[in-house]
């Protein structure tokens, strides 16, 4: 951490572009997410959300534009940038052949944390999710919603200042979805975590959320959801999205 000179923005993107062979997938993407803000990256499938996440997490190299996490360029200061980052990927990343506790222990090792030091905190968090009694069960035995909530808990173990969540609620029932979103919103307000929440589900957006609408690799609108509704003269986020992208959307 920088300490007193810590920047306000958890995440800043400036003119980020990316090409697959013969195809531009991200074009001049610029926006920022402040600490303690829940920002929805709203876009249909194929809009470039996952590619953007791959660039932020340095799975791909950002050659065009700049990405900064708490003021640090991910390209030049990868280790310290990544240490401030928690990620829930679109694909499940729990090891189903390990127990809940073994999964968390493995993650601690990858983050340079000592599991024993966090044991109490981990047990408390598992208790809040109702998973403490199942800590020694194989991850395979958990339901889809429980696995996702566990992944979320895991992503927050090292107390990151920025959380990236790539469509984490896809395929879950309505109750699991609500529980997961609430879990993240709580972290956002209580712990001051900046959240970038990628989704194509418009009903996950609240009027007070910061929203970045991305379509075919370009940012079409950004600001508070209420403001975007006013600017597009729409009554709902669904209508606003349709007005901006010019196409039908679920």
């Amino acid at each position: 951490m920088n300490g007193a000179d810590a920047p306000a923005a958890a995440l800043e993107l400036e003119g980020v572009g990316f090409d697959y062979p013969g195809r531009r997938v991200l074009d001049e993407v610029s926006f920022s997410v402040s600490v303690g803000v829940f920002c929805v990256l709203l876009g249909a499938n194929g809009a470039g959300k996952t590619t953007l996440f791959s660039l932020i997490t340095r799975l791909f190299l950002c050659r065009s534009g700049q990405i900064r996490i708490l003021g640090r360029d991910v390209r030049h200061d990868a280790q310290r940038s990544l240490s401030q980052l928690g990620v829930v990927f679109q694909q499940p990343t729990l090891d189903l052949d390990l127990t809940v506790r073994q999964n968390l222990r493995y993650y601690c090792a990858l983050q340079g944390l000592v599991y024993g030091d966090l044991r109490v905190r981990i047990d408390e968090a598992l208790g809040r999710l109702g998973l403490l009694e199942r800590a020694d069960d194989m991850a395979r035995q958990l339901s889809g919603g429980q696995r996702r909530r566990l992944e979320l808990l895991r992503a927050m173990l090292h107390r990151p200042r920025l959380l990236l969540a790539d469509e984490p609620t896809v395929g879950l029932d309505i109750h699991s979805r609500q529980a997961i979103i609430q879990q993240v919103r709580d972290s956002c307000t209580q712990d001051g975590v900046g959240v970038l929440w990628a989704t194509h589900l418009v009903d996950e957006v609240r009027l007070e959320d910061q929203v970045v609408v991305i379509h075919r690799g370009r940012v079409l609108a950004q600001g508070r959801a209420a403001q975007i509704l006013a600017d597009t003269g729409s009554a709902t986020v669904h209508d606003a999205f349709t007005a901006l992208t010019g196409g039908p959307h679920r």
């Binding site: 697959y20 791909f60 990544l82 499940p92 090891d95 073994q102 993650y107 090792a109």
Partner: protein
Amino acid sequence: MSPRRYLGCLLGILAREGLRFLHQRERFFGALVRPLVWLFIFAAGFRSILGVSIIPPYETYILYEEYIVPGLAAMILLFGGMQSSLSMVYDREMGSMRLLMVSPFPRWYLLLCKLIAGSLVSVTQVYLFLAIAWFWDVRPPPLGYLLVLPALLLSGLMLGALGLFLSSVIRQLENFAGVMNFVIFPMFFASSALYPLWRIRDSSVALYEICRFNPFTWAVELIRFSLYAQMNWIALAGVGAALALFIAAALYGYDPGRGMARYKHSA
């Protein structure tokens, strides 16, 4: 990050690979059955056909079973290395590879940890195989069991690094079977695992030269000599050089600006 945290990261990855191996019992037994079939059946059948003259490190005539045991030990490492890379491709499709890659530790270190973990699992299997072979009357000198350990580790790392490199260039699991056929079988058969190379030279000098420069041959000979408490410096140099080359290729393959970008379409 302090050295203690680096060590914690290594131990965490070792524990994960070890637990996965123990939990996947089919994989555990599958890895043992393969060389045992070769030892119990193939070697019995070919014993009378493939006579082996006295060649170093052996000081007397030996049975065919005894000749192929080091080759089969190397085969376990070869399959282990490839299986480990197969799991990397699987992990990547399932997303858990991403978890590894976004760790704040340097990427080269994470891949090295993964490589060491995979090699240790394979070496454990080899020792189990050697124990069973002992009951089959293949009994190298007791000191050989100790001296072969560095040879197994080095060879395991070399073959694991090859697998790691392959996993960086293979996009999807479906492509893996083809590569296995193009890598495992040619490497195994064009080596000294099943027959001494002078027998190949009698048939084809060109093939003999290919076999001589096959990294798998170096691994087999390094293991063979070490198991009989001798050193084959050429094999050691060969395995070392191949290890350096394959590690460099694997790190290149997993560089975010280069190889990683190749499988972006599956993202």
